[in-house]
Amino acid sequence: MAKQLCYEDVEVGTEIPPLVKRPTTRQLVQWAGASGDYYELHYDKDFAQAQGFPNVLVHGKLKFGLLGQMLTDWIGEGGILRKLSCSYRATDFPGEDLVCKGRVANKYVKDGEHIVECEIWTENPSGEKTTPGNTTVILPSRAQDKKEA
Amino acid sequence: MAITDELKALIGTTTEPVIMEVERGAIRRYADAIDDPNPLFRDVEHAQSSRYGEMICPPGFFGWPVKSGGVMELLASLAPALARAGCPRILDGGVDFEFYLPIRAGDILTSSGKIADIRAREGRTGTMIFTTLETTFINQNGDLVAKSRATIISL
């Protein structure tokens, strides 16, 4: 595992290391099984086309899950994910790059917790933010560790 | 009909045993997928009051993901030799299960696969090769719970 990220390591504007994904049709079927979402829009191309889409769509909640992966990777085991929120603004398709990104928007200490708020989103190959959202995480603090020690 | 020496040498090949934990959720997902409402495969309370004492697996299910003693690995090792013998197309010909004991949620199964037999036969469209892959399933008490024999047809 990577070095533990601490509150002091991030500033407003700090970028979260991007997570590059390229969902496949197989991954969509796996997601259907794992999530129990069997809406045919995500595996039946004819059905998707009848609904006016060029291909089957990546599940919104799969994108939510991938943003979650980016965050749990970033905050490491010492961090706590408190809130994850996103809107499914535009469609994404299997076989296309889907890049999860984020940036620190705010940091503060409240009730002894070192809180970091970030903007997060997924980006399609045209650079559009298809799944914008925000997150709240709690990071360990070096200063606090010293005090405790 | 004779098979190639290369194929003959593969008879008896075994796989590394695969361990599978049988979980209730996996049984329910399987029962959902075949649309089988039997409460023995879904309802813990019902199953616990039945003669089985716990949720059991529908026949042919041995836990998720379905690995069947690494049969896919066996097939992968077999495929080039079948192609060299002139039969590159591989079809699943069917399966024969024997069930000895019920498989309950919570069981830990060990399955191992073996290439039990390879035979050639002259068919309508030329030579066909029949491969029998045998898988055994043993539970945590060391009891043999089931055996399967899958027939792979290559043409």
Partner: protein
Amino acid sequence: MQQASIITDEMKEQLGVEGTPTILEVEKGHIRMMAEALDDPNPLWQDEEYAKKTRYGGIIAPPALLCNARAGTGRGVQMKSPFLRALAGGDELEYYLPVRPGDVITSVSKITEYNEREGRRGKMLFTIIETTYKNQRGEVVATSRSASISY
């Protein structure tokens, strides 16, 4: 006020009505399915030996395990809409406690809000569903708010 609202009295009656609870027994296999579907190799989701040495003391579930059909999100609520097509609009999850294999999560959903909007694809209805997830000790492990769009 819009003329002829698509939100009927029947739909309004459903606001705040709790759906039937869904019980999810959290299992290692399900966590693994989820991790594989995300293609997320984090050993905390799958490697018991590894996870034992972390602050969690054992395997935990990735955040995505909650807030979906299997976790009972939206289960049992009476979703009514004049439209046939549906898409997910967004999700918001707040996490309070880690979810582990062996946990028994009970979720209850309710519709809390309807919104009518004019979108690219014509008139759209946003239905907001809130779900609370409690573990076997009655502790709230997470809450979620999901927007479902029909059009």
